[in-house]
Amino acid sequence: MTAHAVPTAAPRPTATTGWRELWLKEDWWAIWLGLGIVIVGYILFLNGASLKWIAVTPEKWSSLDQLGAHFANNALRYLAQFALWIVVFSVALSALGYPARAFLPSFVFLYVFSVLIFTLGQWTQANYYNLEPPLVALLLGLLISNLIGLPRWMDAGFRVEFFVKTGIVLLGATLPFSLIVWAGPVAIFQASIVSIVTFLVIFFTARGLGLDRQLSATLGAGGAVCGVSAAIAIAGAVGARKEYAPIAITVVIFWAIVMIFVLPIVSRYLLLPAGVAGAWIGTSEFADAAGFAAAQTYGGYASSASGIAGMPDQAVWAFTLMKVVGRDVWIGVWALVLAIISTTRWERDETGAKPEAIEIWRRFPKFVLGFVVASLIVTLASRGYSLAEFNKAVNPTLVAPIKDLRTWTFIFCFFSIGLTTRIRDLATAGARPFAAFSVGVVVNVALGFILSVFVFASYWTNLTR
């Protein structure tokens, strides 16, 4: 399928940058929701209360009786949590211009299946059967959307990117700020090496295969920076033909989904420490949502499979530092540099747009600010507590409930990836774009492995609170 034609008599284009982005971009809504939860959690903590009641999750179970008793005893808590999610997401999506009327029924579907997926993951035999919730959510979603099919209007509730951004802000609250300061520069250095090499490999391979510069750049950024988001950002920055972004998106989605399975399985086979595997996934996955699925899966392996060193959290922490801090935040710089090259060397005066340095801020993934602020809030709240006191007082009442709510947003996200990935709807990529991108994948995965496992392993192995 190719991109749809742009109809004439179009409505007025929307302006969402400047101050208006505070309520018209989902990055900011992820910040408002995520930080809102963290701040409410902190206020409750100061008053001797907790978000624990509403942050209910299925418990470990081994019999259906046990499971039935859990849901019978906690039905009100699940209802309250469902109401919380539906209210906050409806408000946000309405402000963003998406129809709340379509969101409500599709979110009911999403939540019910998320409860089932989460519950299955808590079965005591789940690890034995490899029923890691991220993989189950993704596969089930892919099966439903590609074999059964859901009405298109239901996509209104399957907001992959909004869920993962909200989850990343919440994740900030569970990651000590000192770790961001300590490992952030290493993540930036490692990610920069891999990003630049991957971009150049894809770009010049594509050029060698006869693809034009805008398509080569769009493919290169998709592989090097932040997947689909990078592809669409660079397509706009260089004024790409309308079919180029869908081509890049198709190959990014293909490889991102392949890597959700390949990277954790290979890491498990090699018994990589949790932090090292997380760093490798952060370097070599192509999209945040897909990467979190892979990193959380490996965290699950680390908590259950003998022989994997490190804590489950380390996989997610290392992934986040590498992908979000090391790669995502640089998309504006990539866009600016490629816009300058495009307008001065490739197609002078073609689009009439003069690159401006503020482009770096315009395209900055703002949800990262929420992630950092959430980390600062909880780090400051924990100041003065010894590790033992933290584990006894702060963790169970403040950090753990936020982590549980984060787990919910990630399950919504993983299931939504599958539900929105309709293979027959994707653009036909063609052999040459696929080949160019795949060469970049090979280099990216190999280089990411060497840097994570050998060069910077000591950093990723020692990510601790």
Binding site: M1, G236, A237, A287, P365
Partner: protein, 87 residues
């Protein structure tokens, strides 16, 4: 353009400027609403979003078949208001 020319382009870079009055953001051929883009660009909503900050205000031009910045402009500009008055 040589590498030196590229360096000059970087050195002349401004922080921000006013967009041209006849830019894509004011043109009837240009569409950039998040929902429209998610429908028009297959896979955009699978691992990203039409409402993501990284997208800024970019959109699709129906005349030139390109995905462009809202601040781009060209000779085929057609004002939204003029179109409304003379459809």
């Amino acid at each position: 353009m040589s590498g030196q020319g590229l360096l000059q382009a970087f050195s002349r870079l401004r922080w921000r400027g006013e967009p041209a009055a006849e830019c894509c953001a004011a043109c009837r051929h240009f569409r950039n609403e998040p929902q429209f883009l998610e429908a028009a660009i297959p896979g955009l909503a699978s691992l990203s979003s039409g409402a993501a900050a990284v997208r800024a205000d970019d959109g699709l031009c129906g005349v030139r078949d390109r995905y462009l910045s809202a601040r781009a402009h060209c000779g085929q500009f057609s004002a939204l208001a003029a179109h409304a008055e003379n459809p």
